[in-house]
């Protein structure tokens, strides 16, 4: 899954700020850390501010601080501020369609539904924990130890 740049920057910013809600960071601080465009990030932070996820702190030493609830806000909440994901999972079926088109739509909807469920189940707090203590193997690396149907009744 590839996210748009603005979405990716928003996740960096929100997670960075949520890691320490008392801390204020400027767009430049965050941009430097992640090696991304400060100009683009500043625009993203304004969008996050309008959505109430971050608050701008004015004056010397100002910047942004986290303004949400890290245990309640999910990755999907942040992503959907910037782009649509899992669109086909929610979309009404257009009919009638040729069988092949319908079949493809069914499979793509299955993938989208899984994506949405995953992003919806990971809060910012959980994401921060996962970042700090990454599992030794990723879901895509893990393989069943034996790849045979060893127990089919």
């Amino acid at each position: 899954m590839k996210l748009q740049k603005a979405t990716e920057f928003a996740l960096y910013a929100v997670l960075e700020l949520a890691a320490d809600p008392q801390r204020q960071l400027t767009a430049l601080d965050i941009a430097d850390k992640y090696g991304i465009s400060a100009h683009h990030l500043a625009k993203v932070l304004r969008d996050l501010g309008r959505a109430g996820l971050v608050a701008a702190v004015r004056g010397v030493g100002g910047g942004y601080r986290f303004a949400g609830n890290a245990k309640r806000l999910t990755l999907l909440d942040v992503i959907r501020l910037f782009e649509d994901v899992g669109g086909s999972a929610d979309a009404p079926t257009r009919s009638p369609a040729p069988d092949i088109a319908e079949g493809l739509r069914f499979v793509l909807a299955e993938i989208d539904a899984q994506t949405v469920a995953t992003l919806r189940s990971i809060s910012l707090a959980t994401m921060l924990k996962l970042s700090a203590h990454r599992p030794r193997e990723s879901a895509t690396d893990a393989r069943p130890q034996r790849r045979t149907a060893s127990r089919v009744r």
Binding site: T74, Q114, T118, R120, S121, A125, A139, R147, S150, R151
Partner: protein
């Protein structure tokens, strides 16, 4: 072995193996949450997971001064489609007004200790895709998607 867990500010909650006397309370708690009365099901669950092979099957309850406020059930399973022995959790419940206070985490941690003691190094579960509450709970414990995918087919 009965394992006492830390006391919170109000009362000590003990995580311990279920006994036959706990099952009516388990049934009532489940009914409170699901609005479904499943008497025979829970008695059967106790017979299968609380009363035999207790080295690899675990039916644990959270005993809050005589009131059952939560439970978790799991077992060590092996060699299903190539999966080496691992802990499987297939039921967890916490009284709704006590949620997000760490009781679910304590139940989870305790059954994981039991799995480790049984010699496995991995714990698995399966949850409904649209059950965000339970999926978020397991993710908050550190669980991630594993290498297996659940598949199904209608038979009618």
């Amino acid at each position: 072995m009965v394992r006492a867990v830390r006391a919170d500010s109000e009362t000590a909650i003990e995580i311990r193996p279920a006994t036959p006397e706990d099952i009516p309370a388990v049934i009532a708690l489940d009914q409170d949450v699901t609005s479904l009365l499943k008497t025979a099901y829970w008695h059967d669950m106790f017979d299968r997971f609380g009363a035999q092979r207790q080295d690899v099957r675990f039916f644990l309850v959270a005993d809050n001064g005589g009131r059952i406020d939560g439970f978790i059930i799991g077992e060590v399973r092996a060699w299903e489609f190539g999966s080496s022995p691992s802990g499987w959790i297939f039921a967890v419940q916490v009284r709704p007004r006590l949620r997000v206070r760490g009781l679910g985490s304590r139940l989870f941690a305790t059954i994981c200790d039991r799995f480790r003691a049984a010699g496995v190094d991995r714990v698995r579960t399966m949850v409904a895709r649209d059950n965000t509450v339970i999926q978020s709970f397991f993710r908050s414990q550190g669980m991630i998607a594993g290498p297996f995918i659940e598949l199904e087919m209608r038979l009618d």
